[in-house]
Amino acid sequence: MFGKLMIGATALLLLAAQVCAETIEDKVAVCAGCHGADGKPVDKTIPTIWGQQAGYLYIQLRDFKRGDRKSEIMQPIATQFERDDMLAIAEYFSQKPWPDLGQPRAPKDVAAKAITASASVGCPACHLDRFQGDGTVPRLAGMGRDYLAKTIADFRTRARGNNPGMSDLMLATSPDDLAALVEYLAGL
């Protein structure tokens, strides 16, 4: 038991030393496993973080650490980081080019439906013109379709609990309109 404790403690110390000594490239190496070595996520339900707004990325890391946003994968990773690490990681990825996921543009009728729905609850007031995002508000243009659909669904059930304002807006929008928005945003 004592031996096990010692091994565990040594491992923790090594991990701590590693975190301190790491360069930014070391710190973000783990991210590529899911978010993609070339910025294209390995799974369609994983978000694009290359070229994403730095403020948004920082807030998500902060919220994973606090437990305000739930994820069995992201929470232990974010827990290692202090605020300055999070800001540096966020800045690092925000400076990468946004990847082209090759998603088709939405047909005209779908786009028109999406734009009407978006105007109704005022999406561009925060996500800005052409859904580029800014500061703590994410870029949505060209985000993976499946991730968008999953996130909207999670907002509606409040499974994604770290932005109740977004949950309110998604609940006030019909599933039909939201489906159109997903198509539209993915294809921008």
Partner: protein
């Protein structure tokens, strides 16, 4: 996005596919400040005090400390305004929502853009003298666009409040930063979009954040050092009030007072995260040394279940002592608001008729409700309210989960847009929105500085929207004239001694109207939304009118990056 990153992106997708938005992003983040040399004399307090009589300059955001937006020059008049033409167009580096009020000091103009950029321009030619490109921190939290509404100059300094909640003094001649003070933590939902008001070596500033559970304030900072001099919390520790059941116009607001009292007993006073942002400049009464401001909505906007009481001083006009920030009086328009029909358009000081017909110092405010409210400046009491400038329907139906239809929509009425007045005609000019909406309520806990609406206000697709320019006689409350516009209006308006009012629309139209009857006398198409307040000034013996044409984020009007000055042949 770095230049390097952009090049890689361009290579990957082909330059031809680069969107305007990507380019705009590039400009916003990479543009560096360009220092320069603006040959401008220092602005004295005496000049600022007399701004209402000065046709050469436009020294304060709303023209003068009374905020009349009445320009005293009359070279451009009803007789010749048809000959108005473009003197110059300056293109800023930022193509995003443009709400700036141009300030003019002795032939030098100061304008701002979204993301807190400042430009000094030659007011005669439009030539750039310097450009301050704010290095924005990564954390910005704002509800309604990355806007900035302008700067003010005192001495040889230009005062700016930034989106990442900093207050700055720049060198008026060169654009160099002199000092920077952190106002509040943007991570908790604080941001700045308003122009500061500078008076008697104090820089007065409010805060945004009513959609994020902040505790609002107005502060005075030392103009020389940036040190805080006083703070007034717009939400007092006792925010409960008098359990008002009727609004300022006497209509029942359908409050469940018993349920609120029960909640108060359970959770205590909700003051700490109750919102109460201050979006616009206070007016300053130099004779009594008092300021008058309006306080915005409570947080969360649509859900009143966890904020029992009147939620003082949200949705109120408040008067403070200029030197100390101490409370003098207030008047609340809507207690316990659950519609975001709050108070945002700046107050104006004019002499008004009281109920007995006697002329007294008054203060007026145009509400999102669509009424212009007329108050006694002495005690803030309400003398009268105007006829409604927009359709009202189903007031005050409570928001529901499914959505309850009510007019006006949550943007008003009159949004943040400053009004203008012509004291000679006792008229106030307001631009209005008509946007039918449904009001939806949801309950959630305080989300640590995130968007906290407590539901949603939804524009009803298919229902006709419109706007109007309305002239109201503030001594009677009657509408003198009204011009309907095809789209809801947001931006601002200017009245002049030439018998004109100037204002713009989201479709790019900028026009002059006869200030006595609303007849359109001249118009221009700017190519992007004209959603900013116009200013006027003289240089080289000629009068100019200037306005920003950059569209609007909140109403998603076509973006542009133009500052356009007009003059006569």
């Amino acid at each position: 996005m770095h230049v390097k990153g952009l090049a890689a992106f361009a290579a990957a997708v082909g330059v031809g596919l680069l969107s305007g938005a990507a380019i705009a992003q590039e400009v916003k983040q990479e543009k560096q400040s360009v220092l320069g040399n603006a040959n401008v004399p220092p602005v004295t307090q005496e000049q600022l005090n007399a701004a209402d009589k000065n046709a050469k300059d436009f020294l304060l955001t709303n023209g003068n400390y009374a905020q009349t937006r009445f320009y005293p020059g009359k070279q451009i008049s009803r007789d010749n305004v048809r000959n108005l033409h473009v003197a110059w167009i300056f293109q800023t580096d930022v193509k995003e929502s443009l709400e700036t009020s141009p300030i003019v000091v002795d032939g030098v103009m100061y304008v701002t853009t979204s993301f807190s950029h400042v430009y000094a321009l030659d007011a005669k030619t439009g030539q750039q003298l310097w450009h301050y490109a704010h290095k924005m921190g990564p954390i910005t939290v704002y509800c309604c666009g990355p806007n900035n509404r302008g700067v003010q100059v005192l001495g040889d300094r230009v005062y700016l409040a930034t989106l990442d909640s900093k207050l700055m003094a720049l060198n008026a001649k060169t654009g160099e930063a002199v000092w920077t003070t952190n106002i509040a933590d943007p991570e908790l939902g604080y941001s700045e979009t308003m122009a500061p008001t500078v008076v008697k070596d104090k820089v007065l500033i409010g805060t945004n954040g009513g959609e994020y559970g902040i505790r609002g304030f107005v502060r005075a900072y030392d103009a020389k050092t940036g040190k805080q001099l006083w703070n007034f919390n717009t939400i007092p520790e006792n925010s409960v009030g008098v359990w008002a059941t009727k609004d300022a116009t006497g209509r029942d607001m359908h409050r469940n007072i018993q349920a609120e009292k029960d909640m108060l007993a359970k959770i205590g006073d909700p003051y700490a995260k109750l919102g109460g942002g201050v979006w616009q400049n206070p007016s300053v009464d130099l004779a009594t040394n008092r300021i008058y401001l309006v306080v915005g909505n409570p947080s969360p906007d649509l859900d009143g279940s966890n904020r029992p009481g009147d939620n003082l001083y949200t949705n109120s006009m408040v008067s403070l002592d200029l030197d100390t920030g101490k409370y003098v009086c207030h008047f609340q328009y809507i207690a316990h608001d659950v519609w975001d029909l709050d108070a945002v358009s700046p107050t104006v000081l004019v002499d008004v008729k009281d109920k007995g017909g006697k002329t007294i110092p008054g203060v007026i405010h145009a509400g999102k409700t669509g009424h212009i409210y007329v108050h006694d400046r002495k005690d803030c009491s309400l003398i009268r309210f105007s006829e409604a400038m927009v359709p009202q329907e189903n007031m005050w139906v409570l928001p529901t989960k499914e959505g309850a239809r009510m007019l006006p929509g949550a943007n008003g009425g009159v949004e943040w847009s400053p009004i203008a007045t012509d004291p000679g005609q006792a008229l106030a000019y307001a631009i209005n929105l008509h946007q039918p909406m449904t009001y939806h309520v949801e309950t959630s806990a305080y989300p640590n500085g995130k968007l906290w609406l407590g539901g949603a206000f939804k524009v009803i697709p298919g229902e006709k929207q419109s706007g109007n320019i309305t002239a109201v006689n503030y001594n009677t409350g009657k509408i003198a004239w009204q011009v309907n516009t095809p789209e809801p209006m947001i931006g601002g308006i200017l009245a002049t001694a030439g018998g004109l009012v100037f204002t713009g629309e989201g479709n790019g139209k900028f026009a002059a109207y006869n200030s006595s009857n609303g007849k359109e006398l001249w118009s221009f198409r700017a190519g992007a939304g004209v959603n900013a307040p116009p200013s006027s000034y003289m240089v080289g013996g000629k009068q100019y009118v200037v306005v920003g044409a950059g569209g609007n984020t909140q109403l998603d009007y076509k973006r542009g990056n133009n500052i356009i000055a007009f003059t006569l042949d």
